[in-house]
Amino acid sequence: MTDSPRTKYMDRRGWSDIIIGAPYVWLVIFFLLPFLIVVAMSVATKTATAPPFSFGGEHPLINLQAYQRIFTDDLYLRAFLTSLANAAVAMILCLLLGYPMALALTRVSRGWRNILLMLVILPFWTSFLLRVYAWMGLMGRNSWFNGMLTDAWNFLVPVDWAVRSIPMMNTNFAVILVMVYTYLPFMILPLYASLERLDPTLDEAAMDLGSRPSQVFRDVTLPQSVPGIVAGGMLVFIPAAGELVIPTLVGNAADPMIGRVISDEFATARDWPMASAVAVALLVLMVIPTMIYTHFQGRAEGSK
Amino acid sequence: MPADAPGAGEPFLRIEGVSKVFGTFQAVKNVSLTVQKGEIFSLLGGSGCGKTTLLRMLAGFEEPTAGRIFLDGRDMAGVPPWSRPVHMMFQSYALFPHMTVEKNVAYGLKHEDMSAKDRADRVREMLELVQLTPFATRKPHQISGGQRQRVALARALARQPKLLLLDEPLAALDKKLREHTQFELMSIQQRTGVTFIVVTHDQEEAMTLSDRIAVMDKGEVRQIGSPTEIYEFPNSRFVAGFIGSINTFEARVAARDAGQLRLTLPALGAEVTARDVPHVTPGQSVTLAIRPEKIRISRDTPEGPNALRGSVKDLAYFGKDSLYRITLPSGALVQAHAVNARRGDEGARVADWDDAVWLSFDPAAAIVLAE
């Protein structure tokens, strides 16, 4: 067989070079490079030019002012805390609602299960923006939903606490509620995946050995679903902490989340170095939960 | 003789000092062997013994770290899998799930310079060979495991390879189907004349299928021979123990006379005679090995040189024969098979639990292993 050097190269190295190389080069140019520019930008100096930054010149080459401001200006610390708190509360509420739902899904008959699973996934395919919007309709002062809650409130509390409507829009409560709503499928699916894999004979063995159902849950089901809990928790927490759409639409502008701060610094204040520094700080914070997640993923895979 | 000039007596496949190292793990250590044209040759060993790695080197999926492989006189170094006249039947069969049986069989032919009609004829011929003509238009998931195995065989044979590699060909089949398929494989091999190299961990499979067997352990070939040679004349404790079951005793060569060896068994305080083997000298420590079915059990003192006393500790009845486990005075356990030639109830057997019995064996049945 006579192969030209070119065919030989394509057979041996070329094919893997192209398959690895094309996406690699793409990601380096359109993801890594922009990201490195942001990191560099975070130590640049804001100027009134276009583009509004400069390195060196009359300013120091590496300007750490933006980072200093993160730690000294109350706005940034508060925004970080609000973001982490909102994301954490949303994650816990998703877990409290999603765990029983996922468990229930494993207990219903096969035919029902497929239909219900599809109903869990369905919102995931529909527009995120519209799902947030749907809640704006419910939370508004004149909506039937708000009216119903207001009536219930007025019925339950003393007369002088009565309100005309419950202020839900533009609060942290609204942000958390909508986050739970939009991210709930992210919690249910990994939980369902890990619960569905469990061997039902383990439950039976535990019961056979004298455990009551609540003990079976505590001793057998719960420990085995930890990878699902961690995966679901991170899938909710990470995007929730950096969320921009939800706080902008239903959040409190006076108490912004970090995503909104980054966006405002960039677009409104035109302070690119500050926006970049906050972005870098947010990413550093994100590394911690990501490492927890990969640690558990790795352990789950190792034990397979 | 130049390597690429096949002369008289040049074997069809020659593996010369082949080694394969993965990182720090040496999977195959300095293996040399030859295979003749038209042979069924088995590589037998437990998992991790290097047999599959050796097979993959023949197919071209791995390059040897050292050593060379010659097929029909041609050095295979650097020849990629797609240019080798070697085809493989994979353990998982590796049928293309998106193609019909017919398309699977025809796949290799698309690289062959032949007319569409010849191609169709070859596919038909192959499907007839493995009796799958009625299933030609089914997809792999629509046929049974045994049929899938035959598709894999037909697909590998369609291009008329010089060498067919079979990786655990019967492992995925159930026991009943396995026996039938074994004979079918042999008959197809005879009809096509293709040289087969079979990798298996199943000693019975290797014994029935093969003309010759290479027993492998920890990357090395321990013995090569016909099934009879491997079973009756193992060259090491490993091979003796790997194929069938065997009783072993520590022994010392006392003397050599009249073509026989006299051995003392220090643990038993007994003396036995065995068939002479070269390379042992009086005074040397050796291992004496005897297959269970070569040991006779009797209540009365037997005639002949090799007799040991013992008592029955355990017995298991298998129908056509029984397995006895006998304790010798030294405490050693010996296994012996006895054919149940007579029909009857418990009283018909040679011995019962705790009976004192005599064990005896022919000097020719005793294997002396100098290790």
Binding site: P100, M101, L122, S127, L138, W144, Y181, A279 | P80, W82
Partner: protein, 279 residues
């Protein structure tokens, strides 16, 4: 023997009510005759009629579909390559960084991806004169970049499951690596590639944040249009638009689900047949 799952079923019902009541409410109010979006004023389909004659909405929809089509296709090609690379080539130079690059966009907050893309495009225009104007091209490039990694995740998972021996068998039968890729690998993982494409398409069609940053004058996608209107509050014509979108996607997903279920049932039936014909 099983614990009576009354509690679980109750939570399940509550959860589904929570998931679907907002959407159902939105659908109902899209037929509201009143201009006040949250006060019921009788049944009407006038918002749908005005929507279909709204050129702005139609233009935005067409732009969104174009971007989604192009970006999903490129994202699928690149993402599939990356998925195959990670699953098949165990060791290559820069693998650690490569797998990092493939995971990072998944966890990177969209705001940051958006801002970094924008800064990148502005500086590129400054330095090399490209891209001259932000719009279709820049949005599409950004969408390809962050949706390709989702394709990679799906394809990689499928590739890891696939029997490696199938590809080796094709090679053994005389096919060179490229032929193996097109004859065997891609057909075998085609369902994963298709779901990857659908996911990339949906992500692109749905994206607001990254699009806000990478868009330019005149390039208004449908989510951007909705975003600018929604920021001002709830309106009945957005209710109608949202209803159309949700119903279209919902029907599509349900249909796909039914088709997949059928295919699965047929495969099981085939396997039973194969078992019976065992000889």
């Amino acid at each position: 023997m099983k614990r009576s799952p009354v509690f679980l079923i109750t939570v399940l019902c509550f959860g589904f009510a929570f998931l679907y009541i907002p959407i159902l409410s939105m659908i109902v109010y899209s037929f509201n005759a009143s201009r006040l979006a949250t006060v019921w004023g009788g049944f009407s389909t006038k918002w749908y009629v005005s929507l279909l004659s709204n050129k702005q909405v139609m233009d935005a929809l067409i732009l969104s579909l174009k971007i989604a089509l192009v970006s999903a296709t490129f994202a699928t090609i690149l993402g599939t390559m990356a998925g195959i690379a990670l699953a098949r080539f165990r060791k290559f130079k820069g693998r650690v960084m490569f797998s990092g690059l493939v995971t990072a966009p998944l966890i990177m907050p969209e705001v940051i991806t958006g801002i970094s893309s924008l800064i990148f495009f502005i500086l590129m225009a400054e330095w090399i004169g490209w891209p001259g104007q932000r719009g279709f091209t820049t949005i599409t490039l950004a969408h390809i970049t962050f949706s390709m990694v989702f394709v990679t995740t799906i394809v990689q998972a499928r590739m890891v499951q696939a029997d490696r021996a199938i590809e080796e068998a094709a090679m053994d039968l005389g096919s060179r690596p490229w032929q193996v890729l097109f004859d065997v690998t891609l057909p075998v993982i085609s369902p994963a590639i298709l779901s990857g494409w659908l996911l990339a398409f949906t992500i692109s069609l749905d994206d607001v944040v990254i699009t806000t940053f990478t868009t330019g004058p005149g390039a208004t996608t449908l989510p951007l249009l909705i975003w600018s209107k929604v920021k001002l509050g709830v309106t009945p014509d957005i209710n109608a638009l949202a209803t159309l979108m949700v119903v279209t996607v919902g029907l599509g997903v349900i249909l796909a689900g039914i088709i997949l279920n059928r295919a699965e049932a047929r495969r099981l039936a085939d396997e039973r047949m194969a078992y019976r014909s065992n000889d």
